[in-house]
């Protein structure tokens, strides 16, 4: 049966943790198809990433290393994924649905004349998957009927792959002709933060429009730091310029599923709920008892953030002190 190829994302020579979820998906798919799992790393100076990927329990790791591939471009990366897919004789090509994966995989699918399952949350069969639609209000079961199945994987629904015992063999593949088709990477204005990545944090503390202004998010940040969590925000707060856009949680921002999600002064618009409903425990703090966020919250507290945040700092501080 067909083999499985998973594209492993790297940024500046570092394997992105988000990719580990796609590796888990790949292992499950290989079990389903009876084929073997190959991992693919693309970039410049990525031999270390390939070596790291070799610890994840795949049958083999292929890497493509070329100075012209230093910065990701869908135009140059997609043909390489296609080349690897053909050389490996795969029936499944997958990637985690990050900004990278979502940009890359449909182009790959078009080049392979393959159907694509987007944002897969569960595997039903070798070509049948479950995925959310309509802001998470519907789960669809879909069937991809092409010989090759392309898929983007929702990170929060597949546990990160763990390091396995023996290292997989690593082989370098030739990039083939590299043609950017007139596209050019210019720059990346990266938002720097000492906090954990939003999509990987165990605790997320998010603020909404009710925080009113940027400096009030400093109070939220203190709480995030106290619990070692990430800070998020609603679309309304991002649109109002209170915090950078990359903090946005929701249908059009990032999808998170931490152990604990604390929504502070967030009303709970459908598109926000779509990005955090999968969290294990949801806490809502809002002064409006009718706010829709309370309908998905495990624990709701009707009060203002001005009152709640300092008290949370004190109470959690006490708890931390007692745990020491």
């Amino acid at each position: 049966m067909g083999n499985v190829l998973i594209v492993v994302e790297q940024a500046e020579g570092q394997l992105r943790t988000a990719s580990l979820s796609a590796v888990t998906f790949g292992k499950k798919m290989a079990e389903t198809t009876g084929g073997k799992l190959s991992l693919l790393v693309i970039g410049s100076g990525v031999d270390k990433v390939a070596a790291e990927a070799a610890n994840l329990g795949a049958a083999d790791v292929t890497f493509v290393d070329d100075g012209a591939l230093k910065n990701y471009l869908a135009e140059t990366y997609a043909p390489i994924v296609v080349k690897a897919a053909q050389e490996k004789g795969v029936s499944v090509v997958g990637v985690t649905a990050t900004a990278f994966g979502k940009d890359l995989m449909p182009r790959v699918a078009a080049l392979l004349d393959a159907g694509m399952a987007a944002d897969v949350v569960a595997i039903v069969a070798a070509n049948k998957f479950r995925r959310p639609m309509l802001a998470g209000n519907v789960i669809a079961e879909i069937e991809v009927v092409t010989p090759i199945v392309c898929a983007t994987i929702r990170q929060t629904e597949f546990a990160p792959a763990q390091a396995a015992g023996a290292a997989s063999p690593v082989a370098k593949m030739d990039a083939g002709p590299i043609d950017a088709k007139g596209a050019e990477f210019v720059s990346l204005a990266a938002a720097k933060s000492d906090r954990p990545e939003l999509t990987e944090a165990k605790v997320v503390i998010s603020g909404g429009r009710g925080m009113r202004e940027s400096k009030n998010f400093d109070e939220l940040a203190k709480l995030a730091d106290l619990v070692g969590g990430a800070m998020g925000a609603s679309r309304a707060a991002c649109d109002a310029g209170m915090v950078p856009n990359d903090l946005q949680v929701g249908q059009t921002g990032k999808v998170v599923a931490p152990k604990l999600y604390v929504a502070v002064a967030i009303s709970g618009a459908i598109q926000h709920l779509a990005g955090m409903k999968g969290s294990k425990v949801i806490v809502a703090v809002n002064k409006d008892p009718e706010a829709p966020i309370f309908q998905v919250a495990d624990y709701g507290l009707v009060t203002t953030w001005e009152k709640a945040l300092p008290e949370l700092m004190t109470e959690i501080g006490k708890l931390k002190a007692a745990q020491r």
């Binding site: 940024a11 869908a74 900004a99 990278f100 979502k102 890359l104 995989m105 449909p106 182009r107 699918a109 078009a110 159907g115 694509m116 399952a117 987007a118 944002d119 639609m133 309509l134 802001a135 998470g136 209000n137 519907v138 789960i139 669809a140 079961e141 069937e143 991809v144 009927v145 950017a180 088709k181 007139g182 596209a183 050019e184 210019v186 720059s187 990346l188 204005a189 990266a190 605790v203 649109d239 950078p244 856009n245 990359d246 249908q251 059009t252 990032k254 604990l260 459908i270 409903k277 806490v283 309370f294 998905v296 495990d298 624990y299 709701g300 507290l301 009707v302 008290e311 109470e315 708890l319």
Partner: protein
């Protein structure tokens, strides 16, 4: 610059989703233009007009905005809306919603592109119903054109030969330059006051936040504009699906939560009951 914009109709996202068995119950659905597509239309208008504080200026004859929708006849309503906003012409490709997947859509758009020869295809980054986020990238792949997805800023550069696009990516904002012709899919922030720069409109011009409303004049003018009708067959597109939807179901409901009376109680419950602190 000639721009082709895509327009899909979707159920009003604010309406409660109803299922009839394993399919969507659309009997009471309020259809509307996909928000991201509306933003794409706004982007196309901003890219082609010479706007000033007194409003949108006239477009040069070579600057055109054509909107294409694929779907049942009713999509005329959403296309008419884009014409009222200021688009020049619309194309409606007849197709039932369940006869389409991202591949059929991309292959159809490829045919339209070959016919209309636009310099740029602008699309919403995703449709609010299927949320697949793939038709634009597929189209770019089929055409062999460069692509810039999740655009939050766009600027015409190189004397109209290229676009500099700000893209919202996981790590922050990436700037990518694409030679024209290209496919660009737009994100939410593309309708911010200074997000679009075309070299004609003053670079410090501040647009009102969001897509424009159709003026009365625009609505009257739209009645005289053309909606060309065609079919998948006439375009030579075989509607063979690569992805089939088997069934829809409601997601598992979260069990009802409780209201706590104090922060102290909340922290105790998170520690002792939920065991997450």
């Amino acid at each position: 610059m000639k721009i082709l914009v895509t327009a899909k109709r979707v159920p009003d996202p604010e309406q409660k989703v109803k299922l009839k068995g394993a399919v969507l119950d659309v009997s009471a659905v309020n259809w509307q233009l996909n928000q991201f597509d509306e933003y794409a239309v706004e982007t196309a208008l901003r890219l082609t007009e010479n706007a000033s504080s007194t409003g949108a200026g006239a477009r040069a004859p070579e600057d055109q905005v054509i909107v294409c929708g694929i779907g049942p006849k009713d999509v005329q309503q959403q296309l008419r809306q884009t014409l009222a906003m200021g688009a020049d012409k619309a194309i409606l490709v007849d197709g039932a919603d369940d006869a389409l997947d991202a591949d059929v859509v991309a292959r159809t758009l490829q045919k339209i592109v070959e016919k209309e020869k636009p310099d740029l295809v602008l699309m919403g980054k995703l449709a609010a119903d299927s949320e697949s986020n793939d038709a634009g990238q597929r189209l770019a792949g089929l055409l062999g054109w460069p692509q810039a997805t999740f655009a939050c800023t766009v600027e015409i550069t190189d004397g109209g030969k290229a676009l500099s696009v700000g893209r919202e990516v996981d790590a922050g904002m990436e700037t990518k330059k694409v030679r024209l012709p290209a496919v660009v899919t737009v994100d939410l922030r593309i309708v911010a006051p200074h997000a679009v720069k075309n070299g004609k409109t003053a670079s410090d011009h501040a647009y009102a936040e969001g897509p424009r409303y159709a003026s009365l004049k625009g609505i009257m003018a739209a009645k005289k504009k053309t909606i060309e009708e065609t079919t998948l067959a006439a375009l030579g597109v075989t509607p063979t699906l690569k992805v089939k939807t088997i069934a829809l179901e409601a997601p598992p409901a979260r069990k009802a939560g409780i209201k706590v009376q104090s922060v102290e109680e909340l922290v105790q419950k998170l520690h002792n009951e939920a065991k997450v602190l």
